[in-house]
């Protein structure tokens, strides 16, 4: 966590200093992992995410439509072309599953059933690898998924449209935990 806070500062500084130059992906790696697969449980992996999804999220954070206090100083003033370059870069990196801990068989089952009932696979695809503006969920960090799903359900993750809030309407905390457990342990497939 400490490292990451320092990362944000450094990233903000870098952006300020070199905003007129092409931005390197260096500032991202401190928090999102050296290969875009996050080593911090609460920070998302960005490797292998669809290009359009990364672009949209960076734009939404830059425009302050998606609240993200840690990301705001980094994306502030970032040009669209730089956003597209970063999105292109990270979308091509191989996604890895980063949850090393033991999995809970009952929770996995429950998560898989809920993912099926909620038809997550229609937009996120059957292997949860995501497409276009829809993110990859397979192998995403569990803690991050749980927090974001809850924020969506409670209308606290703003930006974009209301599709996810509607999709999660009435889903219990227990089921969200199961979904996060199952999805984080689904094997990410190469795009």
């Amino acid at each position: 966590m400490h490292l990451c806070v320092r990362g944000w500062w450094a990233a903000g500084l870098l952006t300020a200093l070199f905003s007129s130059f092409a931005i390197s992906q260096e500032p991202c790696l401190g928090c999102h992992g050296p290969d875009g697969n996050s080593v911090s449980p609460q920070i998302p992996s960005i490797a292998g995410q669809p290009k359009l999804f990364i672009e949209n999220q960076l734009v939404l954070m830059r425009e302050e439509l998606r609240p993200a206090p840690q990301m705001q100083p980094i994306v502030k003033g970032m040009k669209d072309a730089e956003i597209s370059r970063l999105a292109e870069h990270f979308s091509k990196l191989p996604a890895k599953s980063m949850e090393g801990g033991p999995s809970d068989a009952a929770l996995l089952k429950q998560g898989e059933a809920r993912a099926k009932a909620l038809r997550c696979g229609i937009c996120h695809l059957a292997d949860f690898s995501g497409q276009n503006q829809v993110p990859r969920l397979a192998g995403q960090r569990e803690q991050y998924l749980e927090a974001e799903l809850r924020a969506y359900r409670d209308g606290k993750r703003k930006g974009g449209d209301t599709v996810m809030t509607e999709a999660l309407n009435g889903v219990s905390d227990a089921d969200i935990r199961a979904l996060a457990h199952f999805l984080s342990r689904s094997k990410p497939v190469a795009r």
Binding site: N56, V59, E112, A113, A167, V171, D175
Partner: protein, 410 residues
């Protein structure tokens, strides 16, 4: 492998302990009303693009217009740009957006266009209107007025939200707004679903207000989702486009062109579609009784957006008082439909003739290979048309030059 996975999933579904089965989640609004036959359909709204598309990457040469017409790229660098409102002299064009939350101002000077953002961080500020030197911006939950904006870029916003009584649901409540010939401000309120009895009376209608938000009057009800209208230059009647419901197959239901001849009409939603077809899900006795029928059906799922009656002097006489209608293009259909601008001539007898006008956005008849999506139409003082493209965030200009030797038609 797939079969094993499905078997496992089915087994798991039955194995879930009862206490984790909470009430079923309400489907997302765009997804609602899906029949069992389409339950596994992969159709979903197309992804928008929130970053600038460089002018060089916009393939204008692929666009086709009738003989004698010319289409050129007029402005670019407006991600998500859709409805346009012009200042008095049309030197400024104000452009609303949805997801990216901005309103742009395009300045036209010396044959070159520059773009700036007037206001941002709004929730779907798609409605823009201009009157008496002021720009009006309608977002889902906000109404702003910028007095004197065309001359004073620093014009401070006046917040008129409280005056307009906006309902809270987001879905289908992104707006098209315009001032009518009566000086009133016309505002639609879409149904917050695909197909449903609206949760309260304030949805599925078109209203008009005085410019300051006073004098609210409901003009039309039973309107599912209108995001475009214009007034006939002669009869002064309001013609509005309306999106038909989804999840009814490739053939159903059609988008519509409707007309308000007098206030108070009911246009059928959610009970009755097309020229009198009852809805398969939301039923009542005599569902099409007293429903004002459309002037014209505009094709299933075409996504009819902006409409503009032509009154300029540049185009051939046959286009006088003809409606140009942008059809942004389908998503809820296996085969694409729309992705064009059509001209619709409305005869004195009410008969309509539709012809293609601007095509080439989708490169296949059978599949979705589109690069652009035409959304709204504006007429310039010289009689040229502007057409906005929401997908690539650009505006095209369509002009006409009479071929040499061809006599001017009367």
């Amino acid at each position: 492998m797939m079969r094993t996975l499905i078997a496992a999933a089915v087994a798991a579904a039955f194995a879930v302990p009862a206490q984790s089965q909470d009430k079923p989640a309400a489907p997302p609004a765009w997804h609602q009303g899906k029949p069992p036959a389409q339950a596994e359909s992969k159709l979903a709204p197309h992804a928008g693009k929130m970053t600038e598309t460089p002018a060089a990457d916009i393939p204008v040469s692929k666009l086709k217009v009738p003989n004698g017409f010319k289409v050129e790229l007029w402005a670019s660098g407006l991600p998500g740009g859709r409805a346009m409102a012009l200042s008095e002299d049309a030197k400024k064009v104000y452009v609303g957006t949805r997801a990216i939350g901005r309103v742009y101002e395009v300045s036209d000077a010396g044959g070159k266009r520059t773009v700036r953002t007037v206001v941002d961080k709004l929730t779907q500020p798609s409605g823009v209107a201009y009157k008496d030197g002021a720009l009006y911006v309608f977002a889902i939950d906000k109404v702003l007025k910028f007095d004197g904006i065309a001359k004073n870029p620093e014009s401070k916003a006046e917040d008129l939200t409280a005056k307009f009584d906006l309902p809270k649901e987001q879905h289908h409540n992104w707006k098209y707004v315009a001032f009518g010939p009566d000086g009133k401000l016309y505002v639609p309120f879409g149904a917050p679903c695909n197909i449903c009895e609206p949760p309260s009376k304030e949805y599925a209608q078109i209203r008009r207000y005085n410019a300051d938000g006073s004098g609210k009057e409901v003009l039309a009800t039973g309107v599912r989702n209108s995001v475009g209208f214009d007034w006939h230059p002669k009869t002064k009647e309001l013609y509005f486009t309306d999106h038909g419901r989804d999840w009814a197959g490739d053939k159903g239901f059609e988008d519509e062109l409707n007309k308000i001849s007098k206030p108070g009409g009911f246009y059928g939603f959610p009970y009755c579609h097309n020229n009198g077809t009852p809805d398969p899900d939301v039923k009542k006795a005599d569902p099409c009784k007293d429903v004002t029928k459309p002037v014209k059906l505009m094709g299933p799922h075409t996504a009819v957006m902006g409409i503009k009656f032509y009154t300029g002097k540049m185009f051939p006489a046959e286009y006088q008082n003809t409606a140009f209608i942008a059809r942004k293009g389908s998503w809820n259909r296996e085969k694409p439909n729309g992705f064009d601008v059509v001209s619709v001539r409305i005869g004195n007898d009410g008969k309509t003739t539709q012809r293609p006008f601007l095509t080439g956005f989708n490169e296949s008849k059978d599949s979705y290979k589109f690069w652009g999506r035409p959304a709204y139409i504006a007429q310039m003082p010289d009689g040229a048309l502007l057409v906005s493209d929401e997908q690539v965030g650009a505006i095209y200009r369509i002009s006409y030059e009479r071929p040499k030797g061809e006599p001017k038609k009367k």
